[in-house]
């Protein structure tokens, strides 16, 4: 089930009342739906105004809170001239590359692991405790160990992110596999499908909506691990940029970096929802 496929009572008319509706299910005029977004927009504007006011009235020292204008100016400067030897675009691409390499690794490992958990008791016995062990550990806790084992190069950084992504991918795949309708599998078997064909042609496509949800969660988890991954011996990346700026108390770059990370996370979420709509148009419609 994808939440995006849900729309607020498609057939409902504004003045419709069937006499059975409880108050909270009564169709509301369309205005009410729009105003939730309006409230969000107003909230953001108010916060921006408060930020501008606080900064221009010098309520807080610019060292702690640079003004929005200063952050924007810094954005333009870093985008053009760079910060710590790389432009904003180069930092962003370095981070995106790490996150996507980690995502590929997490898919290559996590989907088969999830499949094994979902279809075989032995698979569940082997991998379930491992994932449950791995899942709650914060990346900063295993980062030192990974550096001891794999050094300070690029593979270590990707690995830190990939570990954070593994559990959501594997567990969502397993949930999707376990949710496959029994009848669908039986129908395929009675049409002559072998065990491998059932997995390839029925179980994987059935689990695809759930797998994509897992990827969405994993991208969020991986992106939020970025700063930890770029903590040691990075020369590029948004996380590295923020840390370098923090060490020199360049607060406007810190704030700008945080905003860029947030905006990219938002964009990734948006893109993967689009991908979901294209790849699994049947989700929520069965």
């Amino acid at each position: 089930m994808s939440v995006s496929a849900y729309s607020e009572r498609p057939g409902a008319k504004a003045d419709e009342n069937d006499g059975f509706s409880v108050p909270w299910s009564r169709p509301r005029p369309k205005r009410a739906v729009v105003s939730a977004r309006l409230v969000s927009a107003i909230t953001i504007l108010v916060l921006l105004a408060a930020w501008t006011a606080a900064a221009s009235l010098q309520l807080v020292s610019p060292v702690f809170l640079p003004s929005p204008a200063a952050v924007w100016a810094k954005f333009v400067v870093v985008a053009r001239d760079g910060f710590v030897d790389a432009t904003l675009l180069q930092h962003t691409l370095a981070s995106l590359w790490r996150v996507f390499a980690a995502l590929i690794a997490a898919i290559l490992v996590g989907v088969p692991v999830g499949l094994a958990i979902g279809i075989s008791r032995i698979g569940r016995g082997v991998f379930d405790p491992l994932l449950e062990f791995l899942r709650p550990i914060p990346p900063l806790a295993y980062l030192p160990l990974i550096i001891i084992w794999f050094g300070i190069g690029e593979p270590s950084k990707i690995l830190v992110i990939a570990i954070a992504m593994l559990a959501p991918v594997a567990l969502s795949t397993a949930a999707g596999v376990r949710g496959v309708s029994r009848e669908r599998v039986d129908a395929a078997r009675s049409l002559g499908a072998t065990r491998a064909q059932v997995i390839r042609h029925v179980i994987l496509p059935s689990a695809l909506p759930s797998i994509l949800t897992g990827l969405r969660i994993a991208l969020g988890a991986g992106w939020s691990t970025l700063v930890a991954a770029e903590l040691v011996a990075a020369t590029r990346g948004l996380g590295f940029m923020i840390q370098s700026a923090a060490q020199f108390l360049v607060t406007d770059v810190v704030v700008m970096g945080i905003l860029v990370i947030a905006i990219i996370a938002f964009a990734l979420e948006f893109i993967i929802r689009r991908v979901e709509r294209v790849l699994v148009p049947w989700a929520g419609r069965e």
Partner: protein, 262 residues
């Protein structure tokens, strides 16, 4: 003549105190020319109808007795016995045509060949122009037709229908009954069907087996001929209005509720 035979089959599910079915025998024949048997299982809930169908499908292993096709024991599901379920169990990531062609794809039939065959079968179930439709764009009746066409694509000797019309509205049901009779004639298969519909059983079956629960056993067997009259050209509504049909319906209803505490 090929036979799907259940010989004194018992079914006992793990963790259940009593067996679901005890020593039930069925024989579904499929003639090599012309139509085969159309055996319909009816009975109250819990009488083991679906368990028996699953044994025939090879999805449930009998606790006792033997299930065979043409003398060979049934060891698992196979495309000689295609199953159609109550909830169509179609694949929503495929179009209607691709669903029908599924069995052929498993066998490695080339893409254009299987598309052609799928379109033939879709026309047979009167969905000739729905090949490109997605499953969620189809009504319940249309989905069930796609399910039937998909089963026939496997070129089974026997069709196993588990309440195929159970989820449909009454009017669609009426229309699907004649579709089933037409398919049965066209595909030359033996049919084993489970249903709750008494009228449906009488219209379709060549033989009706009435089961009763506790554990599931056969209480009566009726040979019927109303389906053959439809095949001979008599309109379905005239058959259903025939006093002989009305009497048979009363008799069958009595048989189903026989022995039930009132």
């Amino acid at each position: 003549m090929t036979h799907l035979i259940l010989d004194k089959v018992s079914v006992h599910y793990d963790g259940q105190p009593a067996p679901a079915v005890e020593r039930v025998s069925l024989d579904i024949g499929k003639s090599d020319s012309g139509r085969g048997d159309f055996v319909v299982l009816v009975g109250r809930s819990g009488c083991g109808k679906t368990s028996l169908l699953n044994v025939a499908a090879g999805l449930v292993e009998p606790a006792g007795g033997l299930a065979t096709v043409d003398g060979r024991p049934i060891t698992g599901p196979g495309s000689d016995r295609a199953v159609v379920f109550q909830n169509d169990a179609l694949f929503p990531w495929l179009t209607a045509r691709e669903n029908v062609a599924f069995a052929l794809r498993l066998r490695g039939v080339s893409a254009d060949k299987r598309a052609r065959r799928a379109d033939e079968l879709l026309s047979l179930v009167k969905l000739g122009d729905a090949g490109d439709k997605r499953i969620w764009e189809l009504s319940g009746g249309m989905r069930q037709r796609v399910g039937l066409a998909r089963a026939l694509a496997a070129e089974p000797e026997f069709l196993l229908l588990d309440e195929p019309l159970g989820a449909l509205d009454a009017l669609t049901r009426e229309r699907m009954q004649t579709t089933l009779l037409d398919l049965w004639a066209a595909a030359q298969v033996g049919v084993l069907m489970v249903t709750h519909g008494i009228e449906e059983a009488l219209v379709l079956a060549t033989r009706i087996v009435v089961l009763a629960p506790g554990p599931g056993h056969v209480v009566r067997t009726f040979e019927t001929h109303f389906g053959r009259r439809y095949a001979a050209g008599e309109p379905i509504r005239a058959i259903k209005a025939d006093p002989a049909f009305v009497a048979a319906r009363a008799e069958l209803t009595d048989a189903i509720f026989e022995g039930e505490a009132a």
